[in-house]
């Protein structure tokens, strides 16, 4: 049981929720959230948007029953969080280029923050693409070296990757596929995948992602995969 410290709407249908959490978290990991009994039946996977010791923050979009319930929670309410789960984005030595689309920007904030903490001199560029309303842009601007924003267009059209950059991306699969295709093969690219989940821990085999080396579980082997594993470049 975690206690909600804040839960606010920051853009139409986009909420930011902070809860108490004692433990550590890696960028790209996620939690299984629930604030209900049996309706809906399953918990919902939500990535870590930000983390400071004692507190984890989620950024989520209201799309259905579960996220609707989450959006109604108030400060002081309880929410069950199981996790952190998944592998998360790896630590890298080179420069970082992140590409986020829509609610896929959620996990990238903590990723960038963590990167800059570990490697204050590393360069980090951030591409953010939104269909209609942008959010969190200022937050990214505060921690990244450069933020390239696109609203209503196709973010990958603008994408120019430096030879020494490692690319990390999260967003609609079609966007990630396009990133996978356009970024030169010399660059290392990591993608964060989604799948419907039941257990979140590798027991149900429901969240399969087909990879070059056979089926992988998004919840346990992922959600972060190397580009070539998933998109067969």
């Amino acid at each position: 049981m975690a206690i909600i410290q804040s839960n606010e709407c920051i853009s139409p249908d986009i909420y930011k929720m902070s809860v108490t959490f004692s433990g550590t978290v890696l960028p790209g990991q996620f939690f299984m959230l629930r604030a209900w009994d049996k309706d809906p039946l399953l918990s919902r996977p939500i990535s870590v948007h930000d983390y400071v010791p004692g507190k984890v923050t989620f950024l989520y979009q209201v799309v259905g029953k579960g996220t609707k319930i989450l959006a109604k929670l108030k400060t002081g309410d309880n929410v069950e969080i199981q996790g952190p789960y998944g592998n998360g984005f790896p630590e890298i030595t080179g420069d970082l280029c992140v590409v986020g689309g829509g609610i896929g920007v959620a996990p990238l904030y903590y990723l960038v923050k963590h990167y800059k903490e570990k490697k204050p001199n590393g360069n980090c560029r951030v591409y953010l693409g939104f269909r209609e309303n942008a959010y969190c842009v200022e937050a990214y601007e505060a921690i990244a070296d450069e933020v390239i924003l696109d609203i209503g267009g196709i973010i990958t059209n603008q994408l120019r990757v430096q030879p020494d950059e490692v690319v990390m991306t999260c967003g609609p699969e079609i966007m990630m596929a396009s990133v996978a295709k356009t970024v030169p093969l010399e660059n290392v690219v990591y993608v964060s995948m989604e799948a419907h989940m039941a257990c979140g821990i590798g027991a149900c085999l429901g969240c399969t992602c087909e990879t070059k080396s056979g089926n992988k579980k998004v919840c346990k082997d992922g959600p972060v995969f190397l580009r070539e594993e998933v998109f067969y470049v």
Binding site: K38, L41, L42, H196, A198, C199, A203, L205, G206, T208
Partner: protein
Amino acid sequence: MSNCLETKFNDILFKNPVIPASGTFGFGREYEAFYDLNKLGGLCSKGLTLEPKSGNRGIRLWETPAGLMNSIGLENPGVDAFIKNEWPHLKDIDTVTIINVGGKDEESYLTAIKKLNAIDAKLIELNISCPNVKAGGMAYGIKAATAGEITKKVVAISRHPVMVKLSPNGEAIADIAKACEEAGAQGISLINTLQGMAIDYKKKAVVFDNLYAGLSGPAVKPIALRMTHQVCQAVRIPVMAMGGISNWEDALEFIMAGATCIQVGTMNFNNPLAPIEMIEGLEAYCQKEGLANISEIRGII
């Protein structure tokens, strides 16, 4: 801890009658993070087939009101890899490990069973009821005649006792259970998932590549309880019941209906501690009711 929950399934002793169900518990490892698996009455492996299987493509899970549909398609490493990689770990857990076996035809069932003769398992759960793949054997499980035939052959060559897992999608389930009993099955388990369908109206398409999928979870409990009762009335071999069991009260109802043990499937996803809470709940119930053993209320309905 008293032994009011100790349960004999034929001559197999279970610490308690609570067992995570096949396919919802992997090979056990994942839930070690939540509790000590030694506390479980038993655990049931993911369904194994002779050859490794990569399972179904596309979406595999879909939530429904109080239910879950799955179309995993028996993804599993195959019997050989299981024996090599999973069994060494499983066999050291102080609980009854049940090995769930599926097949696509007689030969694949029999070869898998023969290979499993090599290990010291306590109980085989013969899956003739997976609705998601041909290899799940549902074609066998929906007719009494074919269910009896395959059971007879498997029992004949298996070194281990065989419990047959029935499908709720076929002919009168009590008839199928009786056919399996006559064929030599040492136990019955039920129910596997109910065949259902999901449509994504936004995409104007079916959700599952495989068209239909299997429904489980609390939604199906009343059906599972009825079938459990029907089967318990029809056969003398012990019954392991499941289908929507979500708390100790549900577990108790299945035992009152005649089940010797119960399995917990979908609820592991809702609450990873569900089996443990059921064990504790049943124990407290025995104490409160002054039952020396849970068997005193078994089959009272």
